[in-house]
Amino acid sequence: MSSTSTTLEKPNSGTWDGGNEPLKASYGKLMMWFFLLSDAFTFGAFLIVYGLSRHTHLPYNGEPEAFAFSQQWWPIPEKVYNAFPGLHGMDLPLAFVALMTMILILSSVTMVLAVEAGHRMDKNDVQKWLLWTILFGATFLGCQAWEWAHFITGDEEGMLLADGSRIFGANLTVNQYGPPLFADLFFFITGFHGTHVFSGVVLLIMIFINTVNGVYHKRGHYEMVEKVGLYWHFVDLVWVFVFTFFYLI
């Protein structure tokens, strides 16, 4: 048929003929978005289970000054997270977590600056900002390690049990701060987030090495920095939610 020859001459360009980019984003970036969407479900489920557990426990209704740790009620976060490295025995509610939040927001900014430098094909700037991001990410991980160590060890006072004994610190079955479930969720949620930060730092180190070796410059674009950047901002985003629902509310 004569129509066959015309179809061979012209490339197909209909909606379903392939070659269309309705989302105007590269394959890699699109897949990173979808991965992050699925990750958002995981973190969302974690935080919602935290809310569920909280609603199934008695809230503390007394005066905040008279608050004492008990397995009867859910603890007030300000009374749990009030320690700061080097300032032993001082009551500094949420001070350390504020520092951690600032570090993570700052690392997000240096990450955008690296992406921006990548758009300009400025290899030196990309290296510089990636290095800052790695530094802030590693600092955040160090802070979290300290916080975990403190949470696990507990303070001198501990929690007075009904039989007169005291428990100190927390693990998956015993918790001086409140119901054991509180400690479990702390370990799972901040631990899962910390694992993400750790993976992010590993990815950042990998793309830093590639940048130094000029891999992306030879390739002609720094899209890999953008993709890891998306992941890194997502980790920051999750922390914003963890911070609110775990430490503030």
Binding site: F41, L52, M102, I105, V112, T244
Partner: protein
């Protein structure tokens, strides 16, 4: 050589000046909102009202991170909705499980 549509840089000789004003603006907004959260945490009594304020401020922060840092605001409409619509499932799960938790708590305190 340059596949990136934003600039056509073919050689390293002339690297354009960085355009970072918007980035730092977003950073200061995020820091200001976080500072505001601490003001509320220390100077307002705990309760539903304070929690609502915290959640609204958190959503503001989330908006700035996703829209500006993750650049979603500047993507196509189709991509924005592809990401945003499935997140409605999280909202549904949250409403469902919080109601479930309250019901469970009420049941065990009233009947046992």
């Amino acid at each position: 050589m340059a596949h990136h549509s934003d600039n056509d840089m073919h050689h390293t000789g002339d690297i354009p000046e960085p355009q970072t004003r918007g980035i730092w603006k977003t950073f200061f907004i995020l820091v200001a909102i976080t500072a505001l959260e601490f003001v509320f945490a220390f100077f307002m009594e705990a309760g539903t009202a304070r929690n609502v304020i915290f959640i609204i401020l958190t959503l503001f922060k989330a908006f700035y991170i996703v829209a500006e840092f993750m650049h979603l605001k500047h993507e196509t409409k189709a991509l924005i909705w592809t990401i945003m619509i499935p997140l409605a499932l999280i909202v549904w799960l949250m409403v469902a499980l919080l109601a479930e938790g309250s019901y469970y708590f009420e049941s065990i305190t009233n009947y046992f």
